[in-house]
């Protein structure tokens, strides 16, 4: 059955490609080139001179850095991903916004050609998404293959995610100035800072210690006992009730239930953030599903993976193929090389640096970045240098 599905998909994809190429005449277009053509010619801020060296997205005079710089930043991002986790996506965004100077460059066009500035904003968002979201696709697919899926939960998340993946680009592509984007990015950074900070507080630490103690106590009490697997246990996930206000299922003899509106909203908000900012999303599903329905981890892995998969496909298809947002592939490929290297370095250093101190450093960094971007975005200039 599975092979048949694969063959059908393969055949349809091949047919679509052949038909499109055989029947269509190539035509010339370019959102970017149109935008460049409408920009005043010159070497001052907000101007483009065709004789200037090409930089970001091939725009003459755009920021341009030695490729090793992109790789180094990518190493930093990859190292954070494989050491701490979520904060890596934020750093990927910081690189595009501040370190490579793209947001300041986009802002320089607000008087002369706002459309180009907004195009640069969209490119930054899409670049973030490629860097972070596409990578989440692979790990999500792995867990989706492995995990058990709660179909109604996955469907609700996916529907919410698809809606957001369609609506957010529709409402924002070509319409968002760099300043506004940077301001909202700052808000997300603060949210991540808050979560990281909580985990380093005595209360946050106490919760984890208590969980470990409870788990250890249970393990010691039951270590010699082997529980008989009843017929009920062997059934796995069984959906017992479908309703507009409640969906219930049993798993291992325990009943779980949830109101479908929550995963629908959750999928919408989480994928909406991912589509809007370009980072975040995947890592939010797991804690969200845990708190909404108290689900076992290996069900959460598969169910949230489905939502991430669907959300990412919709977001990227919408931004890249339908909205034709241009991106700089050299920038992304060199950053990915860096992230790849960082992903290998993270495990090497993780044993030498305690987790809690890493989180504390990133809390400070997140607060600095968050305040910097909030003030830059909504007040016009950052109160902290380097933002």
């Amino acid at each position: 059955m599975r092979n048949k599905t694969v063959l059908v998909i393969f055949f349809l994809a091949a047919l679509a490609v052949v038909a499109t190429l055989a029947l269509a005449e190539p035509s010339w277009a370019g959102k970017l080139e149109e935008a460049i053509a409408q920009t005043p010619v010159g070497t001052g801020p907000g101007m483009i001179h065709p004789d200037m060296p090409k930089g970001f997205m091939g725009i003459p005079g755009a920021p341009h850095h030695f490729f090793l710089f992109y790789i180094l930043w990518g190493i930093w991002v990859g190292w954070i991903f494989s050491s701490v986790g979520a904060f890596g996506g934020i750093m990927a965004g910081v690189g595009h916004i501040s370190v490579f100077g793209l947001s300041d460059y986009g802002r320089s066009f607000r008087q002369t050609n706002p459309a180009l500035g907004k195009l640069i904003t969209d490119s930054i968002r899409t670049s973030n998404q490629y860097l972070v979201g596409l990578s989440a696709l692979i790990s999500s697919f792995t867990y989706y293959r492995m995990g058990r899926l709660v179909l109604p939960l996955g469907l609700c998340l996916a529907v919410g995610g698809i809606l957001a993946g369609y609506l957010v680009p529709l409402l924002t592509v070509g319409k968002m100035a760099v300043s506004l984007y940077v301001g909202f990015f700052g808000i997300i950074v603060f949210a991540v800072a808050f979560v990281l900070f909580y985990e380093t507080t005595p209360k946050g630490q106490e919760k984890k210690k208590a969980a470990k103690a409870a788990a250890k106590a249970f393990e010691e009490a039951h270590i010699k006992k082997s529980t008989q697997v009843s017929a009920e246990h062997a059934k796995g996930v069984q959906v017992t009730h479908w309703g507009l206000s409640k969906i219930a299922f049993t798993f291992y003899g325990q009943e779980f239930s949830f109101n479908p509106i929550w995963p629908l909203l959750g999928g919408f908000v989480i994928n909406g953030i991912s589509a809007f900012i370009g980072v975040g999303g995947g890592f939010l599903y797991v804690p969200f599903l845990t708190s909404v329905a108290g689900l076992p981890m290996f069900i959460v892995a598969g169910t949230s993976a489905l939502a991430v998969l669907v959300g990412m496909v919709v977001n990227i298809f919408n931004m890249m193929v339908m909205r034709q947002v241009p991106v700089d592939f050299i920038l992304i490929s060199t950053e990915l090389i860096g992230i790849a290297i960082g992903s290998v370095l993270g495990p090497v250093t993780s044993k030498k640096i305690p987790d809690i101190w890493l989180k504390r450093i990133f809390v400070v960094l997140a607060v600095y970045v968050g305040i910097g971007y909030l003030t830059k975005g909504f007040m016009g200039h950052s109160i902290f240098p380097g933002m």
Partner: protein, 210 residues
């Protein structure tokens, strides 16, 4: 956009070196659309093969750390299942929380490792960007058009699916699979409920690679 508009910057050197070889595959027949399709197919296959190689290397280098992280998730997941079976809800919630924390860690590790698979795709798309940036194919009966990226994606997906089916029958990849299966056992064990009944992907053990 033609080759002469390339900057003589260092980052363009790999493209300048590869360009004569890659463009050859786009000039094999007399039909423009067929040339583009064949050339894109070759580029997609190259991106896939290089990605497979680098992701294997990276997975091999971090296998021990990955085993530890995945092992912790497995341990607490099994404990949470045991707690569920005995009906001990507080113990289940405690073990489940720890399993989720460990899972998040392994999720982000995999996320970073995914870059080792994806970077060639963007590397080759970068070359296609300079060669075929302005190329567009109107999609019949719609107001939309497909650029080089859309064609690449449509070609890459079936190539990937096909490769996945035959990958482990190819000489080099048989050895890789054996090696990765050994180290991916904790991840694969996450598919097993304590009764020994496999769920999810019953065909095999988990793998660090997709």
């Amino acid at each position: 956009m033609v080759l002469s508009s390339f900057q003589a910057d260092m980052e363009m050197q790999p493209y300048l070196l590869l360009d004569p070889y890659l463009i050859w595959f786009f000039r094999l027949t007399g039909q423009a659309w067929l040339n583009f399709l064949l050339g894109t197919l070759v580029v997609a296959v190259l991106a896939l093969l290089v990605g497979e190689l680098t992701s294997f290397l990276a997975s091999f280098l971090v296998r021990r750390h990955f085993q530890e992280v995945a092992g912790e998730a497995k341990k607490y997941q099994e404990l949470s299942m045991e707690a569920l079976k005995t009906g001990d809800r507080p113990a289940y919630e405690a073990a489940n929380k720890l399993a989720n924390d460990a899972f998040s860690k392994s999720f982000f590790m995999q996320l970073a490792l995914s870059a080792t698979f994806f970077w060639p795709i963007f590397f080759f798309l970068g070359w296609m960007q300079y060669r075929f940036f302005e190329l567009e194919f109107p999609i019949p009966f719609t107001g939309y058009s497909l650029g080089y990226i859309g064609v690449f994606i449509l070609v890459y997906i079936p190539v990937y699916i096909l490769f996945k089916q035959v990958k482990h029958k190819l000489p080099y990849f048989i050895g890789i699979k054996r090696l990765l299966d050994i180290y991916a056992q904790p991840l694969g064990a996450l598919t097993q409920v304590p009764a020994g009944k496999p769920v999810g992907d019953p065909g095999g053990q988990g793998s660090l690679l997709p």
